[in-house]
């Protein structure tokens, strides 16, 4: 069991807790088939996710005003639907597809692992998703969060320090009493620079055949686990 224990654990969400690629590819492929709308939906999902970081950078740089991730997702979707030559989508269809990010499934260990951790720690997402997205996702996937931290509470996206330090401030904790848990070494590096504890577990199928990194811990994170259930075990839950 890890010697030093946090009071709260916040989780990166897309990829770390939920399988965005599998969930969206399955849903959109079924949607296209049911509606008779042709398109390479799986490739669209990969391109949509690839647009994620650049779209947040446009806000960070000041090129775009602050907006929720839902709005950035929609801007990217509108562009990609045209690029992929997908025809026949109504405004209601586009809204429905965009809210697919609210309907992502947890990895098999996510709900049981979080349920164990919740007995001993405050748990919540700390995601670039907005609170509505994260709350709807939790209802959909059964994620038993105690409290929801979305980027719209800070008007900053990770890895801006305002997000990691904002959680500590809101919970009235020292940064060192908060643990960031993620399947992404970069997120943990930024959290550590702010003084947070860190926990890593890999999600080697997050990007499918396109995965290039994050197969293993790249620093001596406070806890390195195989998944969220193993994290619960290593933290004595």
């Amino acid at each position: 069991m890890a010697a030093n224990q946090p009071v709260a654990i916040v989780f990166d969400t897309f990829g770390t807790v939920v399988d965005w690629r599998g969930s969206l590819s399955t849903e959109l492929t079924a949607f296209g088939r049911a509606r008779g709308i042709e398109g390479d939906w799986a490739a669209l999902v990969d391109a949509w996710r690839a647009a994620y970081r650049p779209s947040m950078q446009r806000v960070r740089s000041g090129e775009l005003p602050w907006m929720k991730l839902d709005a950035l997702h929609r801007m990217s979707l509108d562009r990609l639907v045209a690029e992929f030559g997908i025809k026949g989508l109504s405004e209601a269809d586009l809204r429905h597809i965009n809210l697919g990010w609210h309907r992502l499934y947890g990895w098999p260990d996510s709900v049981p692992g979080l349920t164990r951790l919740k007995r001993k720690f405050i748990i919540g997402p700390l995601s670039n998703g907005n609170v509505a997205l994260l709350t709807n996702m939790a209802k959909f996937a059964g994620l038993p969060w105690d409290v929801v931290f979305g980027s719209d509470m800070f008007r900053h996206f990770k890895p801006d320090p305002e997000t990691y330090l904002g959680v500590a401030e809101i919970l009235d904790l020292e940064p060192g009493q908060v643990m960031m848990a993620a399947a992404h070494n970069g997120d943990l590096g930024s959290a550590r620079k702010c003084g947070l504890m860190t926990a890593f577990f890999p999600r080697p199928t997050e990007y499918g055949p396109h995965q290039k990194r994050d197969y293993a811990a790249e620093q001596d994170w406070d806890v390195v686990a195989t998944d969220i259930e193993d994290l619960a075990t290593k933290l004595g839950c």
Copy 2:
């Protein structure tokens, strides 16, 4: 079953969901006895609660800068401990007593009623408490919130419209898709002016022998129930 259904229900917390008076009186009386510190702890609790609205008004008027309810509670406590002539409390004691507001018990129907409502609706507190207070209270009392709305997210206290409208904005809902549930007619009147749906149930013992109002609904609220279990029944849960 009520015809028009909300998407989310937010609950006033002190008095509506948790029994602040019974919880704090019991805890502080036991604390005083265990520590051999004399004081009329039950009267202190009533006076502390009486200081609540005036303290928030000092922030609203600009006399005090924005601060979390925890900080306002502490200012009032320091004054009242002197006024009540309670001697021998250390700084650690005062901190512990102040965080008593994080350790309040639900009314008997609160956890079962909320658990039923959670199956069908997004549920959360909308309280003048800060997020840390509300999150710790939920862990202590077992309140199964989906999302936590504290006044520090809005930097406004109820009944400022920024709180009621802030919930709708964060959840990406129209005000009319959000229901405010409270045992206080005044809170519901302010929520209704912002366009929220409203649900009332009385807590006739909230203030003990000092209760003067809120024994019954004073407007035609969208739902009038006897408690949170009855609210769940009336909303078809």
